[in-house]
Each structure stands twice: as structure tokens, then as C-alpha cells.
Symmetry: C2
Subunit: 194 residues, 2 copies
């Protein structure tokens, strides 16, 4: 087990309905030492790629992106979620339909901050059905930027998001892939990775 | 001028209606070096206070809170904004009425992550009318935590938020206080501070 899998085993809480609560260290209260370690690990995995920007989505993604952007010495850009439809022409907009909530949202990034010279690393804390990540990919593609890879802290391997993105031939690295959970016993099964 | 005032002069953009755009370095695209410097400066100012937690509000507040929490070696807790009213009993909730948008929002934090032993530093990127900050204060008070201080990157000194919070006798430190802006000339006037 790597450091993140160990932390999930220690402090993650499995709830009925395949819910994994990691709000004590990752996405409500945040352990900065752990996040710094996540930043170093993504830098180790993607450092060959000459990244120019780290792209994420609000809100908890920002805390993953911060240490990654710091390690690479590049700016962090975060996409905003919006329900409004009146966006001016200065924005890249991706319409994203949520599998879970059956509603539509927009993911937006100012055109000032992404362009065709950029080599992007997209990061986020969670990957389940992948709607947010698909929005970020769509925006980076709209900008003509090169997506060098995607780094996720925790992937729910039994949901569709990871498979979709790997099928599209993007390089997706998830530090922990949860293949199963048992709310009664609290057991968590991680996918074996090299 | 301090480092943040210099950066605002260099890269901030004044728009009609007393709007100051700092989205190229502070709240959409983020300059991690600058944010690290902000973290160090708040640590210098508040290090006598034995802080146990840094509290902020999503989304851009997280990027200010990250380096501050890192400097203090304590967890970051971020409040969520919600429009829903069905919150379970495990949450501190503050109802916050926006001066600008005339709507009501809720600011919520899980009770697990704040308690009466905590000595809190509240941080955010912007202070104008102070609605978000009032919500964070209300939540910290609900938890019985001690508010050691509030650290703001940019305060709009001509709006009411800063005065309200100082009148309530909280220690509020704003790295840059903008007392006036001119959208025609681009001029920005900072309040002189010691």
C-alpha cells in the first residue's frame, strides 16, 4: 500500500451506498502534509512532461492542485462551476451532465489563462463517473492545449469515469483506486498497481 | 508598498463599478510563489497566537489558506456554501445574507472539525461587505472556538466589511487595503498601514 491508501485505511469511513468519506483529511478538513506528499508524488510521475499549467476544478481540487503546481513551479488554474447560461465570450465553457444528479452544469475557464502553447496536467481529488474531469478535458481541448496527463487522488474503480478516460487514451494516474467497499465491515479493497 | 500591493499595481485591473480584477494571479489563475509569500506574511503576523486551525471558505479562499496552514503546521478547514436548507445536525450552519445579490446563502462546516479547544485563524482572499467572513465568524463562535484573528489578502476599504469586523473588536489584518480606484486612469489608492 502507498501512503494515500494507508491513510484511507486509517481515516476513511465507508458509508452505505458506496460512499467513502475522506472529509477528515482530504476534502473538508485538509491535512497539508499529506497534500504536500500528493504533490510530490504527482511531480515524480509526470515530471518528464514539461508541464506549463496545472488545471483543476473548484473547490476541493484546489487543495490538490496547489502542491502539484508548486512542485512544477507553474501557475494553478481552477475552473468554476456555474449554473448560469449567460457567459461572455471570454470564457471556455463545457456543458457537463451529472450522472448522479441528472442535472446540467457548466464548467468555465477564462480564455486568458489557457492557450495552445500550454501543456496541462489536470488534477482532482476524486474520480467516480468523471463528469467534472470530462468538462476539464473539453476545456483544455477547446484551448488547443496539450493534455499531458490527469492525476487523481482517489478513483472509484467500480464507477465508469476512469475507464472512459483511459479508453480515450489519456494518461490517467490515480494514487488510490478503490475497487470495492463494504459498509458493514468497513473493508476497502484497493486495485493493485505497479 | 508591500509585495502584494506591488503585484496589484502591476497586474490588477480596475473595471467600472469599483471592480478590481486580480484573476491573473489570485483567484482564477494562481501564482503559487505569491501565495506562499502571503502564507509566510500571515504566519509572521499571527505566530504569537498558537493557532490550531486555519478556517476559510470555498473556493478561492482555499488557495490562501493552504500556505497559511502549512506555515503553522495545522489543518485547513474550509466552509462550504450551500443554498439547500436540509442540513443534518452534524453541521454548524450560518445564514448569510448577501448585500450585493440580496439573496441568502448558508455557510456550513462539519461539527467534527471545529471545537471549543480550537484557536482559529480565519483567512480569505477578499473582504468587501464581509458577508462570507461574518458567516465564518458565526460558525467559529458556534463551535466555541477562539478566533485569534482574521487575515485577508485584499480589503476594499471603501466598503463596510472591514469596519464592521474591527468594530466587533476582532483582530483583522489585511495585506492590502484599497481605499479608492479609478477605472478611467487605472489608478489604485492603498491605505497606508504600519
Amino acid at each position: 500500500m502507498n501512503f494515500l491508501e494507508e491513510r484511507i485505511m486509517k481515516d476513511g469511513v465507508v458509508k452505505p451506498g458506496n460512499v467513502l468519506k475522506v472529509d477528515s483529511f482530504l476534502n473538508h478538513q485538509m491535512d497539508i502534509e499529506l497534500l504536500d506528499e500528493i504533490g510530490k508524488e504527482f511531480h515524480r510521475r509526470f515530471k518528464g512532461a514539461d508541464i506549463t499549467k496545472v488545471l483543476t476544478i473548484e473547490a476541493s481540487g484546489i487543495a490538490i492542485a496547489y502542491p502539484v503546481a508548486k512542485e512544477f513551479g507553474v501557475p494553478l488554474v481552477f475552473a468554476k462551476k456555474s449554473k448560469s447560461i449567460n457567459i461572455d465570450g471570454d470564457m471556455y465553457v463545457a456543458d457537463v451532465e451529472s450522472f448522479t444528479h441528472k442535472n446540467k452544469n457548466q464548467v468555465i475557464v477564462s480564455k486568458k489563462f489557457l492557450n495552445s502553447d500550454d501543456r496541462i496536467l489536470i488534477v482532482d481529488d476524486f474520480l467516480a463517473n468523471g463528469c467534472a474531469l470530462q468538462g476539464l478535458i473539453s476545456i483544455a481541448e477547446s484551448a488547443g492545449a496539450k493534455i499531458e496527463g490527469l492525476g487523481i487522488a482517489i478513483e472509484k474503480g467500480f464507477q465508469i469515469g476512469g475507464r472512459v478516460i483511459r479508453n480515450l487514451n489519456y494518461r490517467l494516474e490515480s494514487l488510490a483506486i478503490v475497487d470495492g467497499m463494504n459498509a458493514e465491515t468497513g473493508e476497502i479493497t484497493f486495485r493493485k498497481q505497479d
